[in-house]
């Protein structure tokens, strides 16, 4: 899984390459960037708390889970995200896909070919405990 990632930026000349060095991005970097970009959307969230994924709860402040498959400079991303309910899911995920694709390409130089999105939970914005508050 720690396969090499992508070469960031453009490579002007092969001769300069050795003298200037190389920048190698681990795929975890791409995953974290994708996760952060997804989490920046106001209608998207991830899971927080729990132990080894057990007992985790939906949280709009948490970053969604992201994984990446790299083939050279081309990436296929998989994002597991929770969304605000009710939002039009097609529109929201399409917006999220576009945003992740653009930002990851802009920040890393990796060409994002696919972003697979799995909606893991849906929650209303004003989450209430359902209990009356003591005055």
């Amino acid at each position: 899984m720690n396969a090499p990632a992508a070469h960031a930026g453009s490579l002007p000349d092969a001769g300069d390459l050795d003298s200037r060095g190389r920048t190698v991005l681990d795929q975890k970097v791409v995953e974290k960037i994708a996760s952060q970009v997804a989490g920046e959307e106001s209608f998207a969230g991830g899971a927080s708390g729990g132990f080894l994924g057990i007992g985790a709860h939906a949280d709009f402040a948490a970053r969604p889970q992201a994984s990446v498959e790299l083939a050279g400079n081309i990436a296929a991303l998989r994002v597991e995200v929770g969304l605000l309910y009710p939002v039009p899911l097609r529109q929201a995920t399409e917006q999220l896909r576009r945003r992740i694709s653009e930002r990851v390409t802009a920040l890393t130089g990796v060409q994002v070919r696919q972003v697979d999105i799995t909606v893991s939970w849906l929650k209303p914005a004003a989450e209430s405990t359902g209990r009356r508050r003591l005055l």
């Binding site: 309910y85 009710p86 097609r90 697979d116 999105i117």
Partner: protein
């Protein structure tokens, strides 16, 4: 909430009924002698239908094997029919919400949407508990709900709130109207623990 094998039962009972009716008509025609007048090859009423030796007909091993295989097939069909009587939920598979799979897929498990619906229904006044199940596809979804209310709940008001709040929200999320909606309401003596919440505005009275 669960589906029964009604259509399967109707189909097979219709087939068996037609076969039994055809057999009855045949026996009636043989007994009345009508069939014998139509064809001389048919044995007349009152005489044995088969004149040959049945032991000789079923003597070869292949005849026994054929009868055994036919029995197993009929027995298997019967067993399959009995098993089909077990009520099933038949939930939908994952909803595919993407437009262009080349740029990536979007999947949403119907249970995720059902949980959101249940959460919303549980906040309605008088609701003790609920369960929701989605069937069909993302473009033609079917919703089935079982709602338990307490004995002080206003059913008409509950249905109004579901029709004006819960169902439109689900339609908004899926971007399509519900194809079918089924609501089963049960009344319980339990209290609604997660009913309407009271949002405080911060006024504290001592």
């Amino acid at each position: 909430m669960r589906q029964h094998a009604g259509a399967l039962n109707r189909t097979w009972l219709a087939i068996l009924g037609v076969l039994a009716l055809a057999g009855g008509v045949l026996i009636l025609l043989i007994a009345s002698g009508t069939l014998q007048t139509m064809s001389s090859a048919i044995a007349p009423a009152g005489s044995p239908v088969l004149t040959m030796d049945l032991h000789a007909a079923f003597g070869p091993a292949y005849a026994t094997a054929i009868v055994l295989v036919a029995g197993l097939i009929i027995g298997g069909l019967g067993l399959w029919w009995i098993l089909a009587q077990i009520p099933r939920k038949n939930p939908a598979g994952k909803y595919r919400l993407h437009r262009d799979p080349a740029s990536g897929t979007t999947l949403c498990d119907p249970s995720v949407l059902a949980s959101a619906v249940e959460h919303q229904v549980n906040t309605l006044p008088g609701v003790v508990g609920s369960s929701a199940l989605l069937r069909g596809s993302a473009t033609e979804p079917d919703l089935t709900m079982k709602i338990t209310v307490n004995n002080r709940a206003d059913i008409q008001d509950l249905l109004h709130r579901i029709n004006t709040g819960v169902l439109p929200d689900l339609s908004t999320a899926l971007e399509t109207p519900m194809r079918r909606t089924g609501i089963q309401i049960e009344v319980s003596s339990r209290n609604a623990n997660s009913g309407t919440t009271v949002e405080s505005t911060g006024t504290v009275i001592y």
